[in-house]
């Protein structure tokens, strides 16, 4: 980001303590929100060297699961109303979930109601799988997503 940051001064929160989970998360097929949260909380923000958890973009409450129907809904809160990085964050969440969960899970990703100026259009784009597939074939976007997912600079 050479043109200046979209949100120059984000509020950074402490990471929540990890709950030590005794059972192997893959021991049964059931998926619970905490398991999903553990996978996505450390995704790095596209703009800042902080995790989505630290910026309160995500919390455990952002995630709902209907294991019977195989549905996962993630509702995230961009740090500012005009965040142009909202679609990148959404792409990161989608890729991470594709990597970590069985493919038959139906994943919906939305910004929290009232948290984004273009809420409707961001939600529509994030849930159009053709647009998502095309975006992930775009080398620049793919690189940005990969940096957020695999960067260790937190």
């Amino acid at each position: 980001m050479t043109l200046g940051l979209i949100n120059a001064n984000p509020v950074v929160h402490a990471k929540k303590e990890r709950v030590a989970r005794t059972e192997d998360p893959h021991s049964d097929d059931a998926v619970d929100p905490l398991e999903i949260y553990d996978y996505v909380r450390d995704i790095r923000d596209p703009e800042h060297p902080y995790s989505l958890e630290q910026l309160s973009v995500l919390s455990e409450e952002s995630i709902t699961v209907d294991d019977k129907l195989g549905r996962i809904l993630i509702t995230f809160t961009p740090t500012i109303q005009h965040c142009s990085m909202a679609t990148v964050i959404g792409l990161c969440l989608r890729v991470k979930l594709q990597e970590c969960f069985p493919p038959h899970y139906k994943v919906d990703i939305k910004v929290a109601p009232g948290s984004h100026a273009d809420e409707e259009s961001v939600n529509k784009q994030l849930n159009d799988k053709e647009r998502v597939a095309a975006a992930l074939e775009n080398p620049n976007l793919r690189q940005l997503v990969d940096e957020c997912l695999y960067s260790k600079e937190l």
Binding site: P103, H104, K106, K124, D128, E130, R131, A133, A134
Partner: protein, 346 residues
Amino acid sequence: MDLYDGNLELKELQTLHGHTDRVWSLAWNPAASSPPQFASCSGDKTVRIWEQSPSSRSWHCKAVMEETHTRTVRSCAWSPSGKLLATASFDATTAIWENVGGDFECVSTLEGHENEVKSVAWNAGGTLLATCSRDKTVWIWEVMPGNEFECASVLQGHSQDVKMVKWHPTLDILFSCSYDNTIKVWAEDGTGDWHCVQTLGEANNGHSSTVWALSFNADGDKMVTCSDDLTLKIWETDITRIESGDDPAPWSHLCTLSGYHDRTIFSVHWSREGIIASGAADDAIRFFTESKDALVDGPSYKLLLKRDKAHDMDVNSVQWSPGENRLLASASDDGTIKMWELAALT
């Protein structure tokens, strides 16, 4: 056998493996009946040709076309003669393939769209090709001798991503549907210029979210559309009025089928004998037909049959074979193609 008794079952004939990513689209070769043949295209950047063995009746992959498209191949369409196959790709090009003695050679590449090409369609005469893109435009190409394609018109009107283009089955009228929630009807004005003659939007009882696909009945006087709003809509027109004069008769909303699929409906195809098949992100395939019960209020449509878990993941395309039997092919995010027969209960 009477369709309307509902004494039908859907037989799963075969699952075809080969693609290594989601299968986006399928197209039956309209000219190949013995043996029947279709093409499929995928996120793995390849196009595959599948053929039925006349002896064993089983399906096998006859050809793989790779290393031409550099990104997802989103859709494919055969020319009416079955000699040419057009493929539309996220790499912003449309490729034209010719069947030369059983091998498919890329004979032309159509460039012009700014970004992903999403759909390609031939007119009934095989003289015009239409393509559409995320760049919001629809292009009409004239088919010239020697596998040359000349851009005849660039149609602007959609405010977003155009998802699909489809020609009317008998007339040179083009239909496009879009992420902008509308369906547009395009016609030539007699001087070579193409214009949007109608927009079917939410104000005309149209869809309230992305329109993904459309299909016509055999007579060409009805059209079905499917959408992210979880509904299918049936539209009708006065076909004799269009055929008799230069007046483009408008399409009007006939009915809405809602409450069936519970996730985005990606594909819909109307068979020649009147059965509408739909495939959706709920992994299911459904079949609808006109109901004879409610003629008092005009035609209505009813669910004939549904198959939950037709695939392990989203169903992206359902296509009836052009042959006599009720053979359907479906393509899915699970990377497979399934062959189905809608048969009388035995």
